[in-house]
Amino acid sequence: MGSFAKKVDTFLTAFIDNGGYVSVLEGLKNTMIIAVFGLIIGILIGTVIATVRVLPKYKTLPRVLDAICSFYVGLFRGTPIVVQLLVFYYVLLPLMGVHMSSLYVSVIVFGLNSGAYISEIMRSGIQSVDHGQMEAGRAVGLSFGTTMLNIVIPQAVKNILPTLGNEFIALIKETSVVSFVGASDLYKAFNMIGTNSYEFMVPYLVMALIYIAIVMLITLGIKLMERGLRKSDRRS
């Protein structure tokens, strides 16, 4: 056990005295930025796609939009997120002649990626809402979009909140691949501490604990949110 104590000591020196905590905080910040903004973009994209996919398909336009959306979903679910990051950063951006920081690229790619997954979650949520809700909205003269936004989607979100929480947790964990394009996230920060001190056991252990702590906090947050949203179900 003596060697482990020594390893802890090495880690603490690197973490506190040599300023490792700064890069860890920076990495934590980036991880949260990528996950949170990725989720927000994903929810927006996912909601739009889900709405397109439940549109009545009598006319040509909804059919074309539907085809585009299923191509998009197929594309982003069919490739690993690392590949998407690399293609976006090393292929698409240079081809377009755009320079963008790796953090922004990560946010965009994670948003696009989770949009594809969330669209399917959202679609099942929308389909779980009784069709009579839509009919009642249309019957008082509200448009499809207005009814969707005010009546159906709020109820759908309530139904899919646990699944959406899962998606957020998955996003946080997946951010550990952004160092492929040079963004500094939580993993990168601990990796650097390990590299500098030639000692990886304790840094990676602490990293794992931090990931677990974040996920537990989020789980708690979702539980509280669910409880708030359930108030229209409760009998008082």
Partner: protein, 264 residues
């Protein structure tokens, strides 16, 4: 008010309505009866294009709303609908349920008028504000709630109401738009027997005020008492149309005779 001309509706290859002609005048209370699967609900749902008709015309206030190019939302505001399953908005309180459409439509029109004034010389006079729209809608909604004696339920969610209360709220939600006609799709079929009375009483009082109503129902007693015309639909066609005394007292169509002998 509503002229239905040769209305047809098919679901795929199944022909549900095979040419329905009827004229509904202002103040009419038309009860639609018929065996299940006869197309009576489909007929009602075609009237406000909840199901798009596959043929024929529905002339409502001079406009053929079966034409896919008209803005159906505009016409539905004047054509309320009450459903068998109530369909109150579950994520809104009772008061919000009633206010949602009037407030949304009022605000949309206000925004359109302001937008118009920005770019055009001929100004539209704006006499209202957002706050005023909300206040008016709320006052109107509370008045309607008082009428059905549920003003104390204004701020609860629909899940806390009984079936009869839900249906009465659904009816005044339709009334809040001040419609020319309300379509009722079996309004009492999903209710416990003891709650049927309160819903029918509300409908009767609306009838007395001269509201035009089209009611698909199995309540023969109600049809006989309130309707001024009863129609019998079977296999997608109107087989008999008569005032209630004649309809129930002296039915002519053999299938109607058979139907009445089973249900009365």
């Amino acid at each position: 008010m509503i002229d239905v001309v040769n209305l047809q509706k098919s679901f795929g290859k199944v022909e549900v309505l095979k040419g329905i002609d009827i004229t509904i005048n202002k103040g009419d209370i038309v009860c639609v009866i018929g065996p299940s699967g006869s197309g009576k609900s489909t007929f009602l749902r075609c009237l406000n294009c909840m199901e798009d008709p596959t043929g024929g015309q529905i002339i409502f206030n001079g406009v053929n709303i079966a034409d896919m190019h008209v803005d159906i939302n505009l016409h539905r505001r004047k054509m309320g609908m009450v459903f068998q399953q109530f369909n109150l908005f579950n994520n809104k309180t009772v008061l919000q349920n009633i206010m949602l459409a009037p407030v949304h439509i009022g605000k949309t029109e206000l925004r359109k008028a302001k937008w118009h004034n920005l770019f055009h010389k001929d100004k539209v006079e704006i006499t209202t504000t957002k706050a005023q729209i909300v206040a008016d809608a709320k006052e109107n909604a509370m008045q309607l709630l008082r009428r059905i004696g549920l003003e104390d339920k204004a701020n609860v969610y629909p899940s806390t109401l009984s079936g009869g209360q839900k249906q009465r709220v659904a009816i005044i939600r339709a009334m809040a738009m001040n419609p020319d006609v309300i379509l009722f799709d079996e309004p009492t079929s999903a209710l416990d027997p003891e709650m049927v009375g309160e819903v029918l009483d509300l409908m009767k009082s609306l009838a007395k005020e001269g509201l035009t109503m089209v009611i698909v129902t199995h309540e023969m007693g109600f049809a006989r008492e309130v309707a001024n015309r009863v129609i019998f639909i079977d296999e997608g066609k109107i087989l008999e149309e008569a005032p209630p005394e004649e309809f129930f007292g002296n039915p002519k169509n053999p299938r109607l005779k058979d139907f009445l002998s089973k249900v009365l």
